[in-house]
Amino acid sequence: MSHAAETSAEATAILGEVRPAVKPRAELVGHGRSFNWITEKICGIAEEKTPVWWWWCFGVACFVASFTVAGITYLVATGVGVWGHRSPVNWAWDIVNFVFWIGIGHAGTLISAILCLLRQKWRTSINRSAEAMTIFAVVCAGIFPVFHIGRVWYAWFLFPLPNSNYIWQNYRSPLEWDVFAVSTYGTVSVLFWYVGMIPDLATMRDRFASVGKTMKARIYGLFAMGWRGSARHWSNYEMAYLILAGVSTPLVLSVHTIVSFDFAVSLLPGWHTTIFPPYFVAGAIFSGFGMVLTLALPLRAVYRLEDLITQYHIDCMCKVILATGTMVGYAYAMEFFIAWYSSNPYEGFTFINRAFGPYWWAYFIMVSCNVITPQFFWFKSVRQNTVLVWVLAFFVNVGMWFERFVIIATSLARDFLPTSWGYYSPSIVEIFTFFGTFGVFSVLFLLFVRFLPIMAIAELKAVTPQADPHAGHGHS
């Protein structure tokens, strides 16, 4: 007994001397930039004369967006048969594109909400543009299910509004859950984005007012709600922001879970699996970070934002892609294992068919883009090569589109009875409509870059070393 007490006393004495290594925190704003520098830099982007490259990009984006407009106009005028859907594949590119865009949106909410709760301060320089990306991605996603209805003027039947048939929506269907999930997601994302922007809109209002641009000051001021930077307001504001982050986190997880229920609740082999919700959420974050990098890296290069989006930020994003990409790879493997382990012949066939059937090429693209590509991010030299990171992030986007295509098309094309098998290929109208959504997205994003603060100015100032009131006191 006494021996044990001695040992523990010794251990305490030694532990008292052990100190964890002091590892310097990564610098989130390079070159020790001042508060004013941050304001000038971010506001300057929206205040300067419209650059020539912006007009070129905007023109190209409008042209690409016109493909969606043309595709949809033709669909509404003719009927939903202009898409390549036919039995047995009555759900294809529309739902593939929907899930693809919604998934991209998820990284924005992840950065703004989950990383906020986890106190990951590196989120501050990318959260604004990622949230913008979320909203624009939800806009693009919404186009597909709404127009797949065919008679789009009945889209309001999705919502619980009284109609002349006196019938209500069927709340037992995951598709109806999806209506609520996606519309809540869109609304809360806009609210979160806007609330985060209020102090920065006030900054822009004050800057326009001090150079005498009254009209602009009034417009920005209207949306800034008379924000004056009061500490009493900040206290309530920070609490509200924290709660919004707190509710957005379960929201973002639930949205993609419900999207996966669209499939998992059915009885189709390859869809009817319990792994879908976590697998879809990981895939969504994976694809979303791919898109964040695809957008943030050119923005960083064009506007010389290296001091705000530092190598540390790029490293963090690459590592998130690596982690979620590996999870997705694990899910692919586990699906195969369970298909074999369940001894269900339909389930087993579906997976063999996915990898070696008529859609083998799509499966091959999916695995090489989603499982192999992110593994390059193990290497520091890869993460430091911005061009290479951009290319790899682009592959992630491609791979995630194919993932949804593989899941949806292969399962539907060859289900139970060989007599009802088929092969799906998209019509030109579908291809145009999907291609055009990249234009819609780019148009919205370019307008955002031109008129709004692309980074959270107030939050960036709060993570600079000079903003820390304890600086030099040795505690945090």
Binding site: F35, T39, E176, S230, A231, N236, A240, P250
Partner: protein, 159 residues
Amino acid sequence: MHAAQQVRDAGYRRWDCITPFPVHGLDGAMGLGRSKVPRFSLAGGITGFCTGMAMIFYMDRFDYALTVGGKPFFSPLFAFPVSYELTILFTAFATIGGMFFVNSLPMHHHPVLHYDKIRRGTDDLFFIVIERSDTRFDAATTRALLAQAGGTDITELEG
């Protein structure tokens, strides 16, 4: 921060700090209590969840009971996803509405908004504002307090 503590200790009630970003620990230095916004959020969340459940019960069980695949007309299980989303939706609106309400925003006519230099309060300067309606306000002593607390450029505002 220390200036804010001095003003607080001098016993002022109707005063404020203007800062370009939320300063960590300033609410403590000003003697502010915990924000009341979460109360609005909780009320919103409860309302949202009850709305979802009640709406689905009314529609699918009471108003027009529809048989689909022999499933029950109402069960809290299938009503849960929609109620869950409405909980979040209502919480978000209540939080933001509550924040605006507690902060008395939007208010576009506050006197400090008409003070030229305050415009840098959203850029890189820090201000302390003491209102004349405060019971302890006295032009000379207040000015002296602010000067002693390290204030430069002390101005009286009309409004």
